[in-house]
Subunit: 548 residues, 2 copies
Amino acid sequence: MQGLMMDRPLLISSILQYAASYYGDTEIVSVNTEGGEHRYGYRAMAQRSAQLAHGLLAHGMKTGERVGTLAWNNHRHLELYYGVSGVGGVVHTLNPRLFPEQIAWIIKHAEDRWLFTETTFLPLLEALADHLDRVRHIVVMTDRAHMPESSRLKQLMCYEDLLEGQPETIDWPEFDEHTAAALCYTSGTTGHPKGVLYSHRSTLLHAYGAAMGDMLAAGRGDAILAVVPMFHAAGWGLPYAGPIVGAKLVLPGPKMADGETLQRLIETEGVTYAAGVPTIWMALLGYLRESGKTLGRMRYAGVGGAACPPSIIREFHERHGVITAQGWGMTETSPLGSMALLSRAEHESLSDEARIARQAMQGRAAFGVEMRIVDDSHAELPWDGVASGRLQVRGPWVCSAYFRTEHSSAHRDGWFDTGDVAIIHPDGWLQITDRTKDVIKSGGEWISSIELENHAMAHPAVAQAAVIARPHTKWTERPLLIVLPAKDQQPSIDEWRKHFTGRVADWWIPDDVVYVEEMPHTATGKVNKLALRERYADFRFSNDRENQ
Amino acid sequence: MQGLMMDRPLLISSILQYAASYYGDTEIVSVNTEGGEHRYGYRAMAQRSAQLAHGLLAHGMKTGERVGTLAWNNHRHLELYYGVSGVGGVVHTLNPRLFPEQIAWIIKHAEDRWLFTETTFLPLLEALADHLDRVRHIVVMTDRAHMPESSRLKQLMCYEDLLEGQPETIDWPEFDEHTAAALCYTSGTTGHPKGVLYSHRSTLLHAYGAAMGDMLAAGRGDAILAVVPMFHAAGWGLPYAGPIVGAKLVLPGPKMADGETLQRLIETEGVTYAAGVPTIWMALLGYLRESGKTLGRMRYAGVGGAACPPSIIREFHERHGVITAQGWGMTETSPLGSMALLSRAEHESLSDEARIARQAMQGRAAFGVEMRIVDDSHAELPWDGVASGRLQVRGPWVCSAYFRTEHSSAHRDGWFDTGDVAIIHPDGWLQITDRTKDVIKSGGEWISSIELENHAMAHPAVAQAAVIARPHTKWTERPLLIVLPAKDQQPSIDEWRKHFTGRVADWWIPDDVVYVEEMPHTATGKVNKLALRERYADFRFSNDRENQ
């Protein structure tokens, strides 16, 4: 027997309508690509999103058509999130930090019919012009004054021309909530990038889950600075959750890694919550140390994308009174999986050390995401704070398959294998200990590369640290510490042994250290361990006598 | 094109699993019907809910079968919410305050196969025994020690016997999220009661919407006292939203209208948020005035079910530092429609008068509920703070039809007509001015009976006030003020005229006043205006010269 409730579809356009109706004057501030700032309210944003939708339809955009974006975090990108999906198109965010050939491959694989881009990225697209023959329209997200005079790209339009003269209202169409809404490719370290195809339903449910008080530490009266790029897993869903909780949005445009701009925006825009990857926060904290500047009203730093070193958590709190809220998730999980936002009681009762240790974990699953850890034979492991295994998740905002990909080894029995290794504590608190491929298998036991890195990062001589597994005749694998030094100082392995002693089990301590002048990064800003493993393919441990 | 996200159904069992996994030790405290208190955590609650589900299935409960409850707010009722729905049954909450014939009619109409009840209500059911021939099992929600020795009811079982020996875990089944989960009849003032049949989907989406920070002012570390009966629109959804935000639940059992018990629970259980109808709060505030006692940690009073008089808002705030969060909703809306929870900025910037005026309105729609106001020809009216019209709503947790009822005049064009008259302000803030049937039509204009009642309630001589329309030869209808006096004092209509002058337009001021010794109430605790209109059917206004 079915219930007798209205069968209203969950559609992204409802977010826009809600924000426009109830938070019409709440601001969205964005840094323009060509300089200066743009500001308006959700009402005006909804009007321009409607104009965009009319413009797209007038130019023949069809339901299900992919609309690529190669863009910064700004108001036009936000309008694309709503204007494209609202009328049944699929907004496809492209990561401009990928190699040009990868971008070309993705555009082709996704069959993007539109590309919305910035003046910044025109040279990149011009270099790829020969690969864009199936793209019908390339729209530059700028005003007419900043349009280039000429270009190799024939299909070039001006964003403002597309909107010009279009009606400011629209009856957003109703359709099946399972309809595709957005597409984001995740670049694994091996093989081709894989596309995650979000639906309206998954996006709405994710927004509800993310808006909960112990997930997003922001609501009415707050200002959210989205430093995380909108081309990373839908900007962590902030462009959807922000409007429904009635928060102001601050979008830093091309200035995403610039400590000075971030500090200025935080102070002048009254930012209370800012979200980004650890490297961004290291840059910001470094700028604050040098400049002596402060963080105004900021109370929470959302961190995700990579494990947050405890040193960041400590410095944010001790110097700036800012509480770190570390999240865990992936493009495949929309991305919110869990959040380590401590309760007031925990803040009041825990020692500094205990508090930081807990904040350095990945926290509680969002309501809507089920988690389990399994061993290599897929048997479920207990939540005892000891057993570590492959983390698997399922839920209505977890991807079920990749776009136009026959088979995925990550999907099995209705669960998605995250590729992460985790411990779950008895109260459900998640602790990611490693990536499956980065874990160090020493003498039949696992060593967490992330935990070693966190301890290394706490050493003043370190700017950045990575630990990788290298073969060892006796132990199969042993940890090698790789350090980008902060200054000239290069501690010996004996000094490192002293540093690690007492922090980790003795048999976890890296056997050797090497110093590098630069650390390789992936397109999503993480340390590229695959590149490190390749670079040190021939490395031999000094204590590996049989293999010198 | 469909998205590629997991098609996981939204099921009520997921709430239970989440709370048990992440808030296993968070307490549920309930006042036993036979005295004393019961306390356990969500983990134990989930275990007993699993035992209940096994017990129901062992006794042949089938999918879609209605399981009636005639019960107080306590832990066993909560277990029924989860144990019944979790395995595909329909938990059907019956209001024990209805007339016995109405209860019998509803049990028959719903085809309840099970009745779960309290020792309190056994005499009531025994009197109805002849009408219960299609009920297979009657389960008394008590332990064996409190089971009656004999009864006219043949099908009598003990709740604890039903659970005894059953496994404490269960693989909650998966099924279509549109499956019926709960049933609640709403007793209109005319005609038969009408059943609202909630689905798993509507219940989950409602829980997400209700859990948002500007709806439910409670989260982890908070304790929610649900004074609102669990037989009223699923206890306003608190039994579902409370567990997902990780709040402690306090259930007052049969002591729902007892100021002394409520104060004690609030103080000893550390209640931070309590939800109930205005009459409950009047009783509590009265008890506090007399006893000089205080409200401990309580910070928010949720109010719904009837318009909250500003005097309650003021007294809560001035004497106890408690902020009133008035909600609006109906059984048909699951019930959350809107909430008037002010932002910190509003609290800081508004004068006392302006703040109370805004709190006395019904606030912002929940994300998920669409609202509009229309005139009698169904044309939409503006949100200008002036136009008043029939309030209509739609959304995934609004009912689409009544159970086993062919036709509902309240449903039209996909919208549900609430029967309320409302103004919507430019920022979307809802202001219910009356029930459609209670509004006073004077000289072609509408007078809000609720606003007059609120102003009357502010007079120290008043314990309770109602304003009804009575016929008037010249004006069609005029307002009659009906007062239950607080003391012996009975102000004259001239004194009342002075009281109202300046508070409402002159032509709104009631023409006459009558004093009563008791005020009639409906089964849901509201002033029964239909009964008042009947009682004063022959009333003639003193200024109605042509009709004496």
